[in-house]
């Protein structure tokens, strides 16, 4: 197992470097001026050139990448051009808000998804299955920013039960799991949860149906195992695939949703990315993408290891 983990970690290194290179190049090859954030559009070319030199944007791209990578390896992602604040602190703060949102959305989405998937799988081709499947399809089909706006209209504007925007009262720097904070989380979390809910439902339904139709289940039943025992076997066999799917979904959610976070003005990584793109704040954009990509890579690694721990066949492969 340890060898497997070590091998997986080694595989991650070139991926991380490639990710760093791609995110650096992506924001550099797009047209436009990297100094938009600090330079008014109507500034002269002379002033633009002066500041380009001051920020090092006049240096060859490989040199810029080398310097950026070296600093990044030392935990320094530079300062935001727009705000002057350290990029790492900006990103980590945003990521912590997104993680809060992702955890809440994952709890809702995965719980609902597993539940609906199991029900649909056990009652295949019945009206219960059709109802659960319709729910899942709606979850992945409905544009989530639209759903977010509908929820806001109903629960904030019409009923005035929940806040429409923001991440908490009073701008407190730390999140608290009390109602004063949780009320800000309800609508964005529900909105974020619908896609993973739909995907997990469909995955678990397919897995459950597939496992239940396999011979070993018949054999278990023939041996007199009660349904609870059969259910445990179904869960165990479905878990690795379901876990992989949930891991990926969690990865997507941790990446933040620009649309959802913008609709709810939730100050997470999606909101930060939106702001960085809008202001063309290159250090912030690069830093945010890099951290999010690393999160994704790390999460995939964790999922792979967890899968291997659950299913010994994976290690052999």
């Amino acid at each position: 197992m340890l060898a497997y983990i070590a091998r997986r970690i080694v595989y991650v290194v070139p991926i991380v470097i490639s990710v760093a290179l791609v995110c650096f190049l992506l924001v550099h090859i797009t047209p436009g001026d990297p100094l938009v954030a600090v330079l008014p559009a109507d500034a002269s070319q002379e002033l633009a050139a002066q500041l380009r030199t001051a920020y090092g944007f006049d240096r060859p791209l490989p040199v810029q990448f080398g310097l950026w990578l070296m600093r990044a390896l030392h935990g320094d992602l530079g300062n935001s051009i727009a705000t002057g604040r350290p990029v790492l602190a900006e990103v980590m703060r945003a990521v912590s808000n997104t993680v809060t949102l992702a955890i809440a959305a994952a709890i809702i989405g995965f719980t609902m998804g597993i539940l609906l998937g199991l029900i649909a799988g056990y009652f295949r081709e019945t009206w219960i299955d059709k109802l659960a499947t319709s729910f899942a399809i709606a979850g992945v089909s409905v544009p989530h920013y639209w759903l977010g706006m509908v929820l806001v209209i109903i629960f904030s504007v019409q009923l005035n039960w929940l806040p429409a925007v923001g991440a908490g009262p009073g701008g407190s720097a730390t999140w608290a799991w009390d109602w004063a904070h949780l009320q800000y989380l309800v609508l964005p979390a529900i909105t974020t949860s619908v896609i993973p809910m739909g995907i997990v439902t469909r995955t678990v339904r397919a897995l459950t149906g597939d496992i239940l139709s396999q011979d070993f289940v018949e054999a278990l039943r023939a041996k007199g195992l009660h349904e609870r025992g059969v259910f445990r076997h179904v869960i165990k066999n479905a878990a690795p695939t379901a876990l992989a799917v949930m891991g990926l979904q969690l990865g997507y959610m941790l990446g933040g949703s620009i649309l959802i976070e913008t609709v709810f003005s939730w100050p997470g990584s999606g909101f930060l990315l939106n702001s960085a793109i809008f202001q063309r704040d290159l250090p912030l954009l690069q830093g945010t993408i890099l951290i999010l990509a690393l999160f994704f890579v790390f999460l995939n690694l964790m999922v792979d290891i967890a899968q291997a721990a659950i299913d010994p066949r994976i290690k052999r492969g």
């Binding site: 047209p31 002057g84 706006m149 504007v157 005035n160």
Partner: protein
């Protein structure tokens, strides 16, 4: 199955939850004004805000003052420059590059330190003197371009300072509205405490700390700051201008870049005031008793013509025809739901720099068609013109549908308009490069809106031949000796009334020459709760929050 007892308990729980949710979220004896901004982040708080004039509006003019300011007291009159931290100023009779500013006595920064000539010099040097400890490159961009001729500052005595320009420039007092005075003492305090490898690193650390705990002289003081989430300002009860001591105790600024989110926040009572509500929500807002404010802003939505050799716009008949062929009232009432003012130039009647142009910009399709026929075009021989624009962008209103409207309108006057739609930042970059650059993609016009707060931004950078790229924004390489002569005259006229007259002459000449296709001015729409009173929306990008009360 639920028992009767359980059902009752469940109902009690639901009621308790609903009551908790409906409980006022910010119960307090203080009056609090909560504003949803269009910005995605709190504009920089360290004295020179970013995010354009929205930044100046919220974190510049609230916490800080400049030597000169804007009169924001009237919704009817044009907003003009008035004394701020300087009570009077005068250019040196012998050397017109030197100005003497008398400072307002008895003013203190929020940290209690005195405002004086040293503070002015320190603040000028924070953006102009590269070897000054407080020099901050990140503040240069948003400052230097707004006062392009300012060179240095010198203390004469505690209450008098001398400013020097690179060339004689009568616009300096207007430009100085953009230089906000931060507290040197507070910055020094942070600098002394800062850790860093060298003076530059310490300076950067000091500015970072200052941004979190800022001190200016303005009517509002920073109370708390959560980056990207909120800025809380409290009233400065000892503000030097007693008429502008805020009437509410606290103002909370919240970034909400999405128009629907801002509108929902207002409708749900989460904020009291939103900038730029969603246009399609205006009827509902009105119906539910919310107040809407809008007024002409010093902002122009134009086509800036290429005047390079071979450009079809070199024929004044064509330029005038385009200006006469657009039904601006139709654009206003239809596409923009009333949220624009038809443009008949950079400045409208009533503005001191308007002048008396003889060419009247209005909708007169017959006259436009006649001019085009005189220029050799007609229904069977259309003139193809290409315009570069963006699909969105700060201050651009609705660029794509508005350009499509122009495309249809101009088609009736024998124009065949082709649109080259590019990304907003790219359009900006191309703007600096000019019509001759390959990035113009063969366009005959560019569509970038512009602020018209000061004469340099409104007129000079577009009309003076020396402002052609790469120097500034004369994108189309206009080269008109009359404009150059009038620019020089305006710059070198130091009596304010005579300077205004010279600028009016320049503006009138530009309209008579149909220098641009003038289309619209933005109106800075904002919506607010009926609880908010005392709002005066001036003809300005800015607004005075001090006048606002809460019922």
């Amino acid at each position: 199955m639920l028992t009767k007892k359980n059902t009752r308990a469940a109902w009690i729980a639901v009621l308790a939850l609903a009551t908790a949710a409906a409980w006022p979220r910010e119960a307090s004896a203080d009056t609090v004004l909560r504003i949803g901004m269009t910005a995605a982040d709190i504009p920089r708080t360290l004295g020179q805000p970013d995010q354009g004039f929205e930044g100046n509006r919220f974190t510049g003019l609230t916490m800080y003052d400049a030597l000169t300011g804007w009169d924001l007291s009237s919704a009817e009159k044009a907003s003009v420059v008035i004394p701020g931290l300087a009570t009077e100023w005068k250019v040196d009779d012998a050397d017109k590059t030197k100005w003497v500013f008398k400072l307002r006595p008895g003013v203190t920064f929020h940290d209690g330190s005195p405002f004086n000539a040293d503070a002015v010099v320190w603040n000028v040097e924070k953006v102009l003197k590269q070897d000054a400890p407080q020099f901050d490159a990140s503040q240069v961009g948003v400052t230097a371009s707004r006062m392009p001729t300012l060179a240095s500052a010198k203390k004469i005595d505690d209450m008098t300072v001398e400013l020097t320009t690179k060339e004689p420039d009568s616009f300096l007092p207007i430009n100085l509205t953009n230089l906000f005075m931060a507290s040197p003492a507070k910055w020094q305090h942070f600098y002394d405490k800062a850790e860093g490898a060298d003076a530059k690193a310490k300076s950067q650390a000091a500015w970072t700390a200052f941004a979190k705990d800022a001190a200016g002289t303005g009517p509002w003081k920073m109370a708390s700051f959560t980056p990207r989430e909120r800025l809380e300002l409290v009233k400065n009860a000892s503000y030097w201008d007693k008429a502008r001591v805020p009437k509410v105790d606290k103002m909370v600024l919240l970034p909400m870049p999405e128009a629907n989110a801002r509108t929902a926040a207002l409708l749900s009572g989460q904020v009291d005031w939103v900038e730029a509500p969603a246009p399609d929500a205006l009827p509902e807002l009105k119906q539910r008793g919310f107040k809407l404010y809008a007024n002409e802003q010093p902002h122009v939505w134009p086509w800036q013509f290429s005047r390079v050799e071979g450009s079809p716009w070199n024929d004044i008949r064509v330029r005038k025809a385009a200006n006469l062929c657009v039904d601006r009232e139709g654009l206003k009432d239809g596409l923009l739901a009333g949220l624009m003012v038809p443009a008949t130039g950079t400045f409208e009647p009533g503005h001191p720099w308007r002048g008396k142009p003889s060419f009247e910009i209005k909708y007169d399709k017959a006259a436009a068609q006649k001019l085009m026929q005189e220029a050799g075009f007609g229904p069977n021989k259309k003139l193809t013109v290409k315009t570069q624009t963006s699909a969105s962008g700060s201050g651009q209103m609705q660029p794509l549908p508005m350009n499509e409207y122009l495309q249809q309108a101009l088609a009736e006057c024998y124009f065949d308009v082709q649109l080259d739609v590019i990304e907003w930042n790219t359009l900006f970059t191309n703007w600096r490069r000019g019509a001759k650059d390959p990035s113009a993609n063969g366009s005959h016009a560019t569509n970038v809106t512009y602020a018209a707060m000061d004469p340099f931004f409104a007129l000079v950078r577009f009309l003076q031949s020396g402002m052609a790229p790469p120097v500034s924004n004369n994108w189309g390489f206009i080269n008109n000796p009359k404009f150059d002569e009038l620019v020089k005259k305006a710059r070198q006229t130091f009596d304010p009334a005579a300077r205004d007259a010279a600028l009016a002459e320049l503006h009138a000449a530009s309209v008579d020459d149909a220098a641009f296709l003038y289309v619209a001015h933005d109106v800075g729409p904002r919506a607010m709760s009926p609880k908010v009173t005392g709002v005066v929306q001036p003809k300005s990008w800015f607004i005075d929050f001090s006048l606002v009360s809460m019922k």
